[in-house]
């Protein structure tokens, strides 16, 4: 086909435009579909969607217990993963000699690559049987197990992103601090860390996002019952579920209205993760602004 060069260029540009538009359309359609499927539940149940009463037979679908489960399991996991992750990132970025860092960084990326079903499997065959006898529990399936697994899963992303953030602090600042007689640790504590705080916060936010969205690993180590433990902070009780585990457990056999409720759960997850995503981006943009002066 003998086309003029200009026409060819226009055709190619439009091909790419169509491809891009298709991709964006897919993304927007998914958003729309999720919301629309959740509407029937809202119309029928309204506010009762957020109560603690869950009984399929009676038609009561309160997501309260699942929301509680998601919050508590993510919260405890973060309590463990955030300090450990940030300290490890400081080690990796500032303390580790070059050769050690070359070995450790891929190892951390390896941890990030383990599929969640494998974590779930390990949780079920190693962690749960460990917890049961050692803590005198009825069975090891518990929020405690869920939190521990989630902590391990969130660590790699927190470490990796925090390491990037610390490494991104301009060398200028560190040198100026050393030149004034500060030790390396004083420099880290007073100059490097405060400068990296935006990046580290972004890392923590992404870690939270990962923990909240995790499905297979938690569903295999929780008690999977839609109730809040009594007392609520009893991490050892064999009960509980998260929004993600709820969806995956009930998806196959749900009635119409139940499926709609599951979509509400999905939308809640979706919105939360969206907010976390946007926050993380805002935080990372603040880093660029801060170092503009330097």
């Amino acid at each position: 086909m003998l086309l003029s060069r200009n026409t060819k260029e226009i055709i190619i540009k439009n091909i790419f435009l169509v491809i891009a538009a298709t991709s964006i359309f897919i993304i927007l359609f998914i958003f729309y579909f999720l919301f629309s499927q959740g509407i029937p539940a809202f119309e029928t149940l309204g506010g009762k969607l957020f109560s603690n009463e869950w009984s399929v037979a009676k038609g009561e679908f309160g997501l309260g217990a699942a929301i509680f489960g998601t919050l508590i399991v993510t919260g405890v996991a973060m309590l463990i993963a955030v300090p450990l992750g940030i300290l490890s990132a400081i080690f990796l970025a500032e303390l580790a000699p070059r050769k050690l860092r070359l070995i450790l960084k891929p190892i951390i990326e390896l941890l990030a690559g383990i599929p969640s079903i494998v974590y779930g499997f390990i949780g079920a065959v190693l962690l749960v049987p460990y917890l049961q006898p050692n803590f005198g529990m009825l069975s090891g399936y518990s929020y405690l197990a869920g939190s521990l697994i989630l902590a391990i899963m969130a660590l790699p992303i927190i470490i990796s992103m925090s390491d990037d953030a610390i490494k991104a602090v301009p060398r200028n600042f560190k040198e100026a601090s050393l030149a004034v007689g500060a030790t390396k640790w004083q420099t880290i504590k007073k100059i490097t860390l405060p400068s990296a705080i935006s990046g580290i916060s972004a890392a923590v936010v992404m870690g939270i996002g990962r923990a909240i969205g995790e499905t297979m690993a938690v569903s295999l180590v929780l008690g999977n019952m839609m109730e809040i433990p009594a007392p609520p902070f009893d991490l050892f009780e064999t009960t509980g579920t998260t929004l993600t585990a709820l969806i995956v457990n009930q998806m196959g056999e749900a009635t119409d209205i139940q499926t709609s409720v599951l979509f509400v759960a999905a939308v809640i997850l979706f919105i939360v993760v969206a907010i976390l995503s946007i926050s993380s981006n805002i935080l990372r943009e603040r880093i660029e602004k801060k170092f503009k002066g330097a």
């Binding site: 600042f173 040198e175 100026a176 050393l178 030149a179 004034v180 007689g181 004083q186 330097a294």
Partner: protein, 255 residues
């Protein structure tokens, strides 16, 4: 006073390697107390590298190896047991590109003092004022000490960095091309500042600007490709250099 006592620092046969390639060859020269010593030479001749040896800043560069001695008040700072932190408190440094911390003007100066353990607010206030006055910056910033240092102009930032270095009461101040990022007016201010500073301190300045070296320094060292070609009183170097290489550089035939 013997010649040795007049030397604040003595560089003795310093050799330096970055990984396998050698960057400094057998450098030996004195740094005279309360005088300005300038190190000049074309790009890449090793001036900054040599300067950074004087406060062991090269330690933070991986794969950098140093042999030889540098005597500060007759004590070798490259000995195994040397406390680097103490050395850096005695030998302050100002960098080529001004690098104030992203903190307030006050905090930038107080930082070094806090590190050293000084917490008393009155003491800190006095030190901040004294340092800013010594750096010819006090009048311009005395009403906005709490504002961010990042809001200052390039020349002001550099004087702030000088004040920051002065705050910990060093004995020697190293300056690595301090004016190369500044406009001529700011440069002139800093050159005046340097001549004032040597009343109380010893200054070593690296510069690629020959005229600056001629204006500001008492002694000059000319380096080329990692070797010290000639060292002498500044007047001698510029009016009557002994080496041909020196003469070629001074007269602008290269570099």
């Amino acid at each position: 006073m013997s010649k040795k006592q007049k030397d604040k620092m003595n560089i003795e046969k310093i050799n330096l390697w970055y990984n396998k390639s050698q960057a400094l060859y057998d450098i030996t020269m004195p740094i005279t107390t309360n005088k300005v010593t300038a190190i000049i030479g074309p790009s890449g001749c090793g001036k900054s590298t040599l300067l950074r040896c004087l406060n062991r800043m090269n330690d933070i560069i991986p794969l950098c190896r140093v042999e030889g001695k540098i005597l500060l008040d007759n004590k070798n700072i490259y000995e195994k047991k040397t406390d680097i932190v103490e050395v850096r408190k005695k030998v302050g440094m100002v960098f080529q590109k001004p690098n104030p911390f992203p903190k307030s003007i006050y905090e930038n100066i107080a930082y070094g003092c806090r590190i050293a353990g000084i917490k008393n607010k009155n003491k800190l206030d006095k030190i901040v004022e004294k340092s800013l006055k010594e750096a010819f910056l006090w009048e311009e910033v005395k009403d906005r000490l709490k504002e961010s240092a990042m809001g200052l102009s390039g020349g002001q930032q550099q004087r702030l960095c000088i004040a920051r270095a002065l705050a910990i009461n060093p004995e020697i101040i190293l300056m690595d091309e301090p004016c190369s990022a500044l406009d001529p007016i700011a440069t002139a201010k800093i050159e005046d500042l340097i001549r004032e500073l040597i009343k109380n301190y010893t200054v070593v300045i690296v510069t690629h600007n020959m005229q600056q070296a001629a204006r500001v320094s008492d002694y000059t060292a000319y380096m080329y490709l990692g070797k010290l070609i000639e060292f002498d009183k500044t007047k001698q170097i510029f009016e009557n250099p002994k080496e041909e290489s020196t003469e070629n550089y001074i007269t602008g035939r290269f570099g």
